[in-house]
Amino acid sequence: MPMELLVTLVLALPIAGFGLTALVGRRLGTRAWIVAVPAIVVTWAIAMVVVWTALSGGFGTDGLHFTLYQWVPAGDFTIEANFAVDNLTAVLLIVVTTVGMLVHVYSIGYMAHDPGRWRFFAYLNLFMFSMLLLVLAGNFMLLFAAWELVGLCSYLLIGFWYPRPSAAIAAKKAFLANRVGDVGFALGIFAVWTTVGTLNFTDAFERLSEGLAGGQIEAWAITGIALLLFCGAVGKSAQFPLHVWLPDAMEGPTPVSALIHAATMVNAGVYFVARANPLFSLSPEAMFVVAAIGIFTAILAASIALTQNDIKRVLAYSTLSQLGYMFASLGVGAYVAAIFHMTAQGFTKGLLFLGSGSVIHGVHEEQDMNRMGGLWRRMPITHATMLVGSLSMAGIPPLAAFFSKDEILGEAFKNGFLWVWLVGIVVAALTAFYMFRLMGKTFYGPSHVDPAVEPHVRESPRSMTVPLILLAIPAALLGLVLGLPFGAGLIGQWLEPIFEEAQLNLGLHHEPVQILGVDGVLILVSVAVATAGLAVAIRLFGFHWPLRGDDTEAQPERVAALTARAPRLYRASFRKWWFDELNDLLFVRLGGRVAHFIWWFDRAIVDGTVNGIGDVVQGAGRDLRRIQTGRVQNYALGIAIALIVMAGGFLIVTAR
């Protein structure tokens, strides 16, 4: 029982923190974090115990399964609140609780001057509860509830500064885009229930694959279920065509962007597809769709990130692009690499977002990179940690994201998805370029900071820099710890048993890595393109060489010249390939027309019929009322006339 108790506590503490902060937070004033942050720190400690037990094999290969209580008892249809902790969950727990805890600590400083801070901490705690529930859930229903809860928290936190219209609109946009995906997700869950009659992950996947093998379930049904469920993942992980909400979600406070929209919630889709690997691997078509959407989102988002000027938006598009990588990886059957990249990206992007928050804080809520520059002197810790994050993101060895990205590209190549590898290589170059464009515009070159603000720019308080340093450690070392030796690192040992069945379904077998053969070449190629992208960015946007102590100057005139040479491409990237305009045209204008017509139809035809019947009856009543005079003589006259007519008629008829 103790482990079950600990897992329950991991869920109970954040929700208790949410309840307390929501109830009494307003009275706590500037100390609104006093409940919320310690609750998460303790949660983190407990989660680490659970993770340690899981990864050291304490739960066996199947993991720990237990039922807390019966959630929905409805005759034949019962759903239990059951939880599962296996190695996949454990890896997720590491990312969620660690980044979550550091973001909580960081928020103490970042939100210190916001009057709504108690609300902020309450929401953050609620989010932690929802996200932990999501990764711990052992059945579809519980997962769906958590899925919607994180969506709610995301909505509440994007719209945290709700008096600002842009924030309110962004929150609505995120909620709606997620809703589109969730419709598919819910339909997928219904389909699972009607096909196999259970919603427990283990049972459902087992029965689905047995059903397919035994011929009771058609192959297209499996593909259909997988694609419907994938819709939910597309919405939550902001893949094309539902990617439009994530960049706008940057309207929320920066810690929220780091926690929810970079490190945890957006990974839910990746986690889910990985969790459902026995299902997806049964359908090559579904896998193809996952890979195609993933790699397309990766290149699309990377191409947009090249020209954005809002520091948080660049990072948001980078997140989209990395999520695309993960889906591509899942699609080619490289599950371990996907989860590895998710972990590396979670820490790295969390670090980068918190760093950008520190920058934004430092230059007094300015987010436009054209009004930054030269900040490395003023904010040394922020600069150093962000440099680590950017190098990692760019895929420079031996930092975390290098290992994971390389594993994705290598697996894609070796599993025969050459097109995924090719696009992936281009994206790797673009990633290195836009990360160092961001660094150059923000930290190097001459200062473009508002002269009124310039003298006040200084490093952020300790509660913000310490989490940055703590996040820089995994962003730098995670790959070395988990990814070495290539193809047989710790992460592989932890996760391979989970994806064994999927690998079997896909007919993939694990080959030893040939560092002097194909793998070595692949690594060299990806490092080479990353370095090339990085070098170009440094040439164009400047850099400060830490060891040599001199600067590479930015060359804005060359940037302008390059931009002028491809104005169409530049505009396409700058306007985000007109996706917002397309959606506006399709759904707001065209959809509005359709809605307007339907409204007219409802008003004129449907209401018209109903009201018409009413009017006729009413009019008839009004006119017929005149006959009812209440004078007995009028009635008698009527009787007499009728009598005469009848008698006359009778006479005429009988006379014939």
Binding site: G630, V632, Q633, A636, L637, A640
Partner: protein
């Protein structure tokens, strides 16, 4: 006494027509009640005439005539009572002024 059924029926029809006209045309409640009596008696006359001229109807006709008289008496009693009661309240015998229950 005429020996023809038709003359009795003609008289009966005439009386009925007078009663109908009176009922439809008069506005005085008492006069309308009288007109009803007239119509009832016209019918009664027709019935007894049939009884006198059609042997098979003789017994039945007398009985029906007596029943009609009883009904007419009862009707007149109730009708007059109502009219008097209304008259005490409204101070008028004219039916078109009894409008209290309209609308």
């Amino acid at each position: 006494m005429s020996q023809s059924l038709d003359s009795y029926l003609a008289l009966s029809a005439l009386l009925f027509a007078v009663g109908t006209f009176g009922f439809l045309a008069r506005r005085n409640a008492i006069a309308m009640l009288m007109s009803i009596e007239l119509m009832l008696n016209a019918v009664n006359l027709a019935i007894v005439a049939f009884g006198a001229f059609v042997p098979s109807l003789r017994g039945d006709a007398s009985v029906i005539a007596l029943v009609v008289m009883a009904v007419a008496a009862a009707e007149a009693t109730v009708g007059l009572a109502i009219v008097i009661a209304i008259y005490r309240n409204r101070r008028t015998p004219l039916v078109d002024e009894y409008t209290q229950m309209r609308e």
